[in-house]
Amino acid sequence: MRNIADDRVHLTREHAVELLRQMTRIRRFEEKCAELYTQEKIRGFLHLYIGEEANAVGVISALAEDEAIVATYREHGHALVRGLPMSEVMAEMFGKAAGSSRGRGGSMHIFSARHRFFGGNAIVAGGLPLAVGLALADKMLGIERATCCFFGEGAAAEGEFHESLNLAALWHLPVLFVCENNLYAMGTALARSQSNPSISTRAAVYGIASEAVDGMNVVDVEAAARRAVHAVRRGEGPRFIEAKTYRFRAHSMFDADLYREKAEIEAWKKRDPLTLFSDWALSAGVLHPDDRQEIEVDVAREIDTAVGFAEAAEWEPVEDLATDVVSPRPETEP
């Protein structure tokens, strides 16, 4: 179904529906999560992606299913687009044993080995070295595919950003770095934390071809991702995309959001990636008038099912607390 072999976006109706559906799935899923959080069904940290959906959808649409993804604690969207069943993701949010990480990870640690979805990392910039290593493995094993690493602009201040970009460039590794620049790291605006706020120019200094893209425009994101991932697959070394985006909600459910102007938020909401895309697609005749509504109905149903599944699911028994800390010792052991 997904056309990954092409390095350009083909906006058939089918593809447009898929893009909108995926963005809608994320949006509604997270709105539901926020509600469930206030009901105390979901606990811990909950970082919403609302406003940034175009990035996960655009980029992951360009990836093959076996191209690894490494993400952050703000990864529900990435997990859903990658194809993790919403029920499993929702069960994970609840902490149930049927969750994608057996409930042990929660919102920040969604994993799926069968989807090559490597999480879900709650240490800022902690995922970058892992992505470099996954790409190194592919290269050494002769497998031609990209590894895609998502992280925020705040992560670009960390030492691991620098070390990882250097390694990837030096060893010519097939990594696609995607910096989701939503302008804030918790309450710290980019300009207050990094002397050079142009993230994409900073990638270039390692010799990594990089591109900044409108992260509210799913088509632009997908187009940039296709170009980049094709170059990566061709063995041209790592690529870097800076997606300029914005989170509409607070950093987490604990955040009083005191550090930015309401007007700024409102201005960005005018560029809501869902409306932006569906309005354009409708006016361009790519989407049909009923598509939006149908998607909403489908997604509502999917969410109901997911919540029902999560509600009904079992807790992991306490006796299993210590399973899988380490593996059982292998038989081959002397």
């Binding site: 811990g44 929660g106 920040m108 709650a122 201040a157 030492g159 710290t188 605006a189 934390s193 992991e316």
Partner: protein, 328 residues
């Protein structure tokens, strides 16, 4: 004496405010301490009083801003560096171990590093494996630093100023589940507390329960449960994790002849192990039985409440350990 109620968070904030007002060389530096008000809202409101220079937002770069704090301390300032949580302090450990803790000795006594590093610690808030570490025992291993663990509102209020007076690096561990705890404090006067001694939080004669930080409350709860069974526990709050106050600990054990140590860290290589060893080393012939430890299960802390709570020390497990020590 008039008293007032405040919570642990407010106590930290008031202590910060006092320090900033008393000494121009004091400044607070860390991620999100200014605009955001601190991840645990400890510095909310302080920028208006002290400005952006002295309540200094730092980029996500734990190694560099902790190292910069050490450098600023060498340069004559009195930095308070906030590491958002102990989990991220791993990224700054090199600076703490190899610079802050060694400079005085390695330079033959020429340099002082009067830095205070505060960090939130511990589990209990369903934050899962990467955000629930109790690694304060690691800090307790490092010569050259002092490690404080305020378990009460009074200690949260009163430890900071003496820490700043210490010419050496001091690390203050604030357990994240304590910030909303309330207590009464004197309305005025010097709030400073002694940062060299452990505290007896409950007097008792049958067994000594030794805890620190958020575990102190759990130990007190256990003591209440056991009182109903006729077991009278003494509860010691370590308060200072390095250097440990052996005297208070050993004196209590000499009296009760039984010791149970509670520590939210993983059992193997925990601070509890150190205390247990010291007790057997110093009071072996006073002991009626083996020193017991109640620690966290040796698993990355899981997200769901029932598993997380099962992994951590609880009043029930503490009480069970005391009964075991009493051979009941």
């Amino acid at each position: 004496m008039t008293v007032r109620r405040m919570n642990y968070r407010e106590a930290v904030r008031e202590a910060l405010r006092e320090a900033l007002a008393r000494d121009k060389r004091v400044f607070l530096m860390g991620e999100d301490v200014n605009r955001y008000g601190g991840a645990y809202a400890c510095s909310l409101g302080l920028p208006a009083e002290f400005g952006d220079e002295r309540i200094r937002d730092a980029p996500l770069s734990e190694s560099a801003f902790v190292g910069a704090g050490i450098g600023a301390a060498l340069g004559g300032m009195r930095p308070i560096v906030e590491i958002m949580t102990i989990n991220f302090s791993l990224l700054a450990l090199d600076q703490i171990v190899n610079s802050a803790a060694t400079l005085r000795h390695m330079s033959g006594g020429q340099f002082s590093v009067p830095i205070v590093i505060r960090m939130a610690t511990g589990a209990g808030r369903q934050l899962a494996a990467q955000h629930s570490h109790s690694l304060e025992g690691w800090y307790g291993h490092i010569p050259g630093i002092r490690v404080l663990a305020p378990a009460t509102v009074a200690d949260a209020r009163g430890m900071l100023w003496p820490a700043l007076l210490d010419p050496d690096p001091v690390v203050i561990m604030e357990h994240a589940t304590l910030y909303n705890d309330e207590d009464e404090l004197p309305a005025e006067g010097d709030m400073s507390v002694d940062i060299t001694k452990a505290a007896k939080r409950r007097e008792g004669s049958d067994a000594t329960v030794i805890a620190h930080s958020a575990s102190v409350k759990k130990a007190l709860n256990a003591a209440e449960m056991l009182a109903g069974e006729g077991i009278d526990c003494e509860v010691i709050d370590l308060r200072i994790l390095r250097p440990l106050d052996d005297e208070t600990i050993v004196a209590s054990v000499r009296k009760t002849h039984r010791a149970v140590i509670v520590d939210e860290a993983w059992r193997s290589g925990s601070l509890a192990a150190e205390i247990s060893s010291r007790i057997t080393e110093q009071a072996f012939y006073d002991l009626d039985g083996a020193v017991e430890r109640v620690c966290s299960a040796e698993v990355p802390i899981p997200y769901p409440k029932h598993l997380e709570q099962a992994a951590l020390p609880q009043p029930q497990s503490i009480a069970a350990a005391v009964r075991k020590a009493m051979r009941r």
